[in-house]
Symmetry: C2
Subunit: 151 residues, 2 copies
């Protein structure tokens, strides 16, 4: 594995595109039964009378699939990440359906050193998740922690 | 099941407390392996050198467990819900560990009718998830859709 990127190595304005996540009916149902058992996430019939039209993935499932793509990307370009503090402006823009293929784009909007913990940096990211038609299905602004090379 | 609550029935300022979610080691690992395979979500050893200290649940898992409590509560007090547009100000405030027992609080901060779809209402909620010590582990402001009784 490559040497991980530290706070100092990360360039504001940089953009990465990555990921290829096949959304399956089985996984959509499995996630919904465990965590989001609303009718439109459980069957085509339950979604028919809603704006979803047919079985659609839980929005939390879309977030989780996006996270999986980020973790997979981190194997290619590792960062010394320590998780996230939170997310701003999370928006589910379009339904995600079984059969969709997701990919994503990560942009580094801003970075700063932690005041309380000088060995850490705080990153403001913009994540966008797309379907196979190039339509954005999810947008969000994660705030994440990364180790600094020097404190 | 009770008659669902519609837009007109929901009172701004109302607060509900509910949920009892046992966080198990197996489920923390299962979720992390699928969606968030970072070292601190996979083993105590991988978390030891981080601020987590020991194996901690993925933040997306905490969101998903909170959603599961919301859906369970909806069986007691059903709403004519149509999913969420997004989330503002999501913050993971404390780690969630195997053995924790989660509960949550939902407050209706504001509501308005959709301009584009008069049969729908838009709710601004504040969700807070607590552990068994009464510490808030997750806070967020979902923006959700609900059917109106009259359009």
């Amino acid at each position: 594995m490559a040497e991980p990127l530290y706070y100092e190595d990360l360039e504001v304005g940089s953009i990465r595109r990555f990921g290829h996540y096949q959304v399956t009916r089985e996984e959509v149902l499995d996630f919904a039964r465990k965590y989001d058992a609303q009718p439109f996430h459980l069957s085509d019939e339950g979604a028919a009378a809603t704006h979803f039209g047919r079985l659609a993935a839980s929005g939390w499932h879309t977030c989780s699939m996006t996270m999986a793509m980020m973790v997979e990307h981190a194997a290619v370009e590792p960062r010394s990440s320590l998780g996230a503090l939170g997310i701003d402006e999370l928006r589910w823009l379009k339904p995600v359906y079984p059969g969709d293929v997701l990919s994503c784009e990560m942009a580094l909007l801003d970075k700063r050193r932690s005041r309380s913990k000088p060995g850490l940096g705080i990153l403001n990211l913009r994540m966008t998740t797309f379907n196979q038609h190039g339509e954005a299905v999810l947008a969000m602004k994660p705030i994440t922690l990364v180790r600094a090379r020097e404190s």
